[in-house]
Structure formats: structure tokens, C-alpha cells
Amino acid sequence: MLSRRDRGREGRQAPRPGLLAFVIGGRARALSLGLVAGVAEIGPVTRVPAADPGNLGLIVHRGAVLPLVDLGRRLDGGADAADGAVAADDAVAAVEGRPPAFCIITRSRQAIAFPVEAILGLQALPALPANGDAAASPWEILDPLIVDLARDQDPAH
């Protein structure tokens, strides 16, 4: 029987899922699991008038009111992907043109939800090169964007 320390060593040897990968704007993106509170079907959306067209409306998730934010618009203005975006693979191509049915809910003091075109699943953290070049990742990792969004909507900020 393995001790707790041994099990930890075992766990470090095998790649552990650290990211949730999904499709936004026809591109593969990912978010660290530590920033993900859950995935939910998009139910009724209350379209609250807003100056920022990136605010799609409000949803109720488990009794809490959450803003539904169009991350695709914030990422690349709804146009073609920005530099460094990941080329579409078969899974991405299969969902292009479909309206988002799911949203990802962030784990933060002021949670937000953002629609995704598809969930690609849990992925292991990519092994980055020694220089830490994130562009080598097979997905565009959205952690900085989510952290900024959460900070922006924190009333204490």
C-alpha cells in the first residue's frame, strides 16, 4: 500500500487534468480548473440593456444571478482570431456555426458565465518549453482574461 507521499509522487508522474478546454469563436481555448466553478446549460437569458454589447444578459444559476459575458467579443472582437490563436481542429470545425448551448461559470468572488460553442473536455497542463512560451500550448489559455474580468467587476476594486 502506498503512503500518502508515495501516492503524491505517483500522481506527479502521470499528467493530471489541469485545464478545461472549450471552443469560443471557432477556436480552441482553455481555462485552468482552479478558475472553473462549473459548466451549465444556458437557460433563459434576461437581456438587460447595456452599453457594452459584450454583456449578453443575466442568467440564474442555482439561485444566483450571473452575467453572461461574450468572451469571444472580448478576445477578438468577434472577427477572425487574434495573432497566436490556435488553428481549428476537427472538433472545433464540427461545432462551427452552432449557437452556444453551454456556458462556463468562473470561480471568483464575482462569478461570471460565458457561453462556449463546445466543451472539448479536461486536458492535462501542456508541458511548456523552458522559456515558458505559452504560444506553444495547443489551446489559448484564458486565465489572464478571466482574472482581469473578475477584478474589474469586483466592487472593492
Binding site: G43, A51, L58
Partner: protein, 204 residues
């Protein structure tokens, strides 16, 4: 051991619809409703008072025509309505004394009548709406402020939002913020900041 649930006083609100979204305005502000004439005038006279016209579709940047389905197939046609609202005397008096209630509106029903003209601005508006849905007692204390990502003029228009038991969301109008030259809401936000939601969910 007994757990006492705090009583949330229900206040009466007039419910209205604009572009398929349900809004609520404190019933103590409501004077009357009437069919919207075409073309729309700049102001509506009622009871010797002028009510400044505010087309909520125009204010909210919505298209003039409704893309939302009508509330009831057998309901009223495409005609829109005007809802006359005026600051209740109690709220105007409280504002004048610098002790306005949170949200700026007094609790409870106030008999309709001419709004008090005093040293403070008195808000009298003729809101152009799509439909009037009824009068309902709402637990406004359960309302939550707009999420922080809403940073534009909408913070002036709305007190907050109220999640309903059936899953829909009612948007609470801030009448004093709907006039074209309305002042921003007082800080801190009129509604108490709700505890941060702790959404759950299952990660796929």
C-alpha cells in the same frame, strides 16, 4: 432549535414589458396608463401636470419594432402604452430632507395625485412601454445589484434585478434615473450588495 427567517417585506410593483424583458417600477410612482398616441408627443399632460415622454426602447437602445413574441396571442396588438409615473410626495419630502429611503422611493402605496413641487427636482415621466403586465407584490429586499460588468448608463436606469422563483429575472427600474438628464445613483449602490454567489455545477 428554531431558525428564524428574516421577513422580507413585499412592496407593490407595476410590472411592464419592453422587448420581452420584464421590468418593475414601484407602484407608488404610478399614476395611470394610457394608449400611446402616434406620433409620440414630447410630453403628456395629466391632472394639470406635464409628464416628460421617455420611450424606453429608445432610451435602452433597442429597435423600434419588437422582435419578441407578444405576451398573449389574444392580447393587445402592436399598440404601445404610456405609463405615467411621478415621484410620490413622501419620497420627494424625504429627498428634500436628505433622508431618502434606499432606492429613492417610499414604501407602501401612495394615493395618486400631483407630485409635490419643492426645492428638489420632481420626476414626472411618461414612459412608453410595450405592455403593462400587472401589479404584483415583490420582495424587493431579495433584489441584487447589477453585476459589476454593467458599467454604463444602465447603472443609472436600474436599481437591480430580482430573481424570481420560476427562474425568470425582473429588472427593477430606477424612475429617477430614467429622465434624459438624470443623475447617477448615489454611492454606495442603493441595494445592499448581496453575498457573492457560490455557483456550483459539474465540470464535464
Amino acid at each position: 432549535m428554531t431558525i428564524t427567517v428574516p421577513h422580507q417585506a413585499a412592496e407593490r410593483y407595476a410590472l411592464l414589458a419592453v422587448d420581452g424583458v420584464e421590468y418593475a417600477v414601484d407602484a407608488s410612482w404610478v399614476r395611470r396608463s394610457l394608449p400611446a398616441p402616434s406620433p409620440l408627443p414630447a410630453a403628456v399632460q395629466h391632472g394639470g401636470m406635464a409628464y416628460q415622454l421617455v420611450d424606453l426602447r429608445q432610451l435602452f437602445g433597442l429597435p423600434a419594432g419588437s422582435a419578441a413574441p407578444p405576451r398573449a396571442v389574444s392580447g393587445p396588438g402592436p399598440e404601445r402604452l404610456i405609463l405615467l409615473i411621478g415621484q410620490p410626495p413622501a419620497a420627494a419630502g424625504a429627498a428634500a430632507s436628505g433622508a431618502a429611503a434606499p432606492g429613492g422611493a417610499a414604501s407602501g402605496a401612495v394615493a395618486p395625485g400631483p407630485a409635490a413641487d419643492g426645492a428638489v427636482a420632481v420626476h414626472r415621466l411618461a414612459l412608453v412601454i410595450d405592455d403593462l403586465l400587472g401589479l404584483e407584490a415583490l420582495a424587493a429586499g431579495a433584489a441584487v445589484p447589477l453585476p459589476g460588468v454593467y458599467r454604463g448608463p444602465e447603472r443609472r436606469w436600474f436599481h437591480g434585478v430580482l430573481p424570481r422563483t420560476d427562474g425568470r429575472i425582473t429588472v427593477l427600474l430606477r424612475p429617477e434615473g430614467l429622465a434624459p438628464a438624470a443623475a447617477p445613483p448615489p454611492e454606495p449602490e442603493a441595494l445592499a450588495t448581496a453575498a457573492a454567489p457560490s455557483p456550483g455545477g459539474t465540470v464535464c
